[in-house]
């Protein structure tokens, strides 16, 4: 399974995470964002609307993304966060780092302004 990525502007993309981001596809997620980071994409909107599984390896791959883009003031935004994702974000206190938005649209607007 590969990740569905939508280019929004020259520095922002939307990644539709899909049903699961876990130890099975975390490496693939890393390869995917790596290509965009090399193309100077700074902002990543992660669409979690369909996500039922986010395990610690999956979350770790999102952390890797954050570590790569934060020195350039890039952002990782969480959009339309499903309940299972919410639980993980709460537990690890990562809502302190990743801004959350009720929808992809809301995240788009916030990042555009």
């Amino acid at each position: 399974m590969s990740f569905d990525v939508e280019t929004l502007t020259s520095d922002t993309v939307i990644v539709h995470v899909g049903e699961a981001l876990d130890f099975r596809n975390a490496d693939e997620f890393k390869e995917t964002f790596q290509d965009y980071v090399e193309d100077d994409i700074q902002n990543f909107i992660l669409d979690f609307s369909e996500t039922e599984v986010l395990d610690s390896t999956g979350l770790g791959s999102i952390f890797s993304l954050y570590r790569e883009i934060s020195p350039q003031d890039g952002q990782v935004a969480f959009a339309d966060v499903s309940r299972p994702v919410q639980v993980v974000v709460q537990l690890t206190r990562t809502y302190k780092v990743f801004r959350q938005y009720p929808s992809v649209e809301a995240a788009k607007e916030a990042l555009a302004s």
Binding site: S56, R67, T92, R93, T94
Partner: protein, 373 residues
């Protein structure tokens, strides 16, 4: 599972291309036209299996096979000879060691494929057994072989490793003042990689504690220094971990903790169990993360229950993970038991849709005796 790589060594172009075409459907195939060519290839990248012709110009199959046998890194590569009928006498002449199979040309492609598959399967089983063994070894090193023994307290600890588990760790040290510093952590990721990082990590934490405890017993201060290390160390660069550091003082009956994104412990009080609410950001994510110390009082009969996410992420009967609320209930049930940890274990499985644990689990239970002051 990564695709296996096969090196085909054959001077006859037709046979070479045929093999490449058929094997290429299942494996990552490279080709060489003689023994020397093959050795050059092996030098730059070691294949999972070699299929070689015998009669070839420059360096023949026997010479190639002997050359591979002389190096311990290449000796173990599974090796299949493709022999023409005319080679039979030569083959019988020298029974060679290190050849896994002979296939006589003209060969049946399906037979070749099934032999290749069987050989690679054998290698894989060997590899995964080895991984499991190393994993168990790491797991054992990530856990202490004895526990604190303190008057007026019971201290129970239990950990069990799962094949698909990750990097749970636990360690403790007694300070010069007769207090205890406990470290519980979970390094993100699964399998051998996570265990390896957890192991490197724990070694660092042990070293840091040794130095820091001379100056301060603040878990938050230790947490800051571990976070700095994670962010600056190149080897650990992509490593993230949740940590719970506890400073337990049995004389004042207090536990001071700092929590970096770890499962929140349960404090059992005279009014019932409650979650130790405060926690900060997980380690390895951001520089200058602030961590704070929170102090809890252990009343007579009171207990502290700490654990890793193997318990909370165990699937419940309705398919959702058990979560924190179940941990609070389990603590209440375990409080008056002779074997609190066993009560938590079985209580978890009773609530679960699965018969066994799906991940590493780690449980720590420390309880003050009811009749101490």
């Amino acid at each position: 599972m990564a695709e296996h790589s096969i090196l085909i060594v054959e001077d006859d172009r037709t046979v070479r291309e045929l093999l490449k075409h058929r094997l290429g459907k299942h494996y990552n195939v490279a080709t060489a036209t003689n023994g020397q060519d093959a050795l050059d290839h092996v030098e730059s990248s070691i294949p999972d299996l070699i299929i070689s012709d015998i009669m070839m110009p420059k360096m023949d199959g026997f010479a190639l096979q002997s050359a591979l046998q002389s190096d311990k890194n290449t000796r173990v590569i599974p090796f299949i000879f493709l022999t023409a009928r005319a080679d039979e006498p030569a083959r019988k002449q020298g029974e060679r060691t290190g050849v896994d199979d002979y296939i006589t040309k003209p060969f049946d492609m399906d037979q070749l494929l099934s032999r290749v598959e069987r050989l690679l399967e054998r290698v894989e089983v060997f590899q995964s057994n080895l991984d499991a063994e190393i994993g168990r070894d790491f797991s054992n090193r990530l856990l202490p072989d004895r526990l604190p023994d303190v008057n007026g307290y019971r201290f129970d600890f239990h950990a069990e490793a799962h094949a698909q588990g990750g990097g749970d760790l636990f360690d403790w040290v007694e300070t010069d003042q007769g207090t205890y510093f406990l470290t519980i952590g979970d390094v993100m990721g699964k399998g051998l990689r996570a265990k390896f990082y957890a192991y490197s990590f724990l070694s660092y934490v042990r070293g840091t504690l040794h130095t820091l405890l001379k100056e301060s017993t603040s878990p938050a201060a230790v947490m800051r220094s571990i976070n700095e290390m994670l962010l600056s160390d190149e080897v650990l660069e992509d490593t993230f971990a949740s940590f719970l550091l506890l400073h337990w003082n049995p004389h004042t009956h207090t536990v001071t903790y700092a929590n970096a994104g770890h499962c929140r412990p349960v404090l059992v009080t005279p009014d019932g169990p409650e979650i130790a609410e405060h926690s900060d950001l997980i380690l390895g994510l951001e520089e200058d993360t602030s961590f704070s110390d929170v102090t809890l009082d252990l009343a007579p009969g009171g207990a502290l229950f700490a654990y890793t996410d193997g318990l909370t992420e165990q699937p419940g009967r309705n398919g959702d993970m058990l979560g924190e609320a179940a941990m609070r209930d389990l603590a209440a049930e375990a409080q008056d038991r002779d074997q609190p940890i066993e009560a938590i274990r079985t209580g978890t499985l009773d609530r679960s849709a699965a018969d066994d644990f799906q991940d590493d689990i780690l449980i720590l239970w420390m309880q003050r005796s009811p009749n101490t002051d």
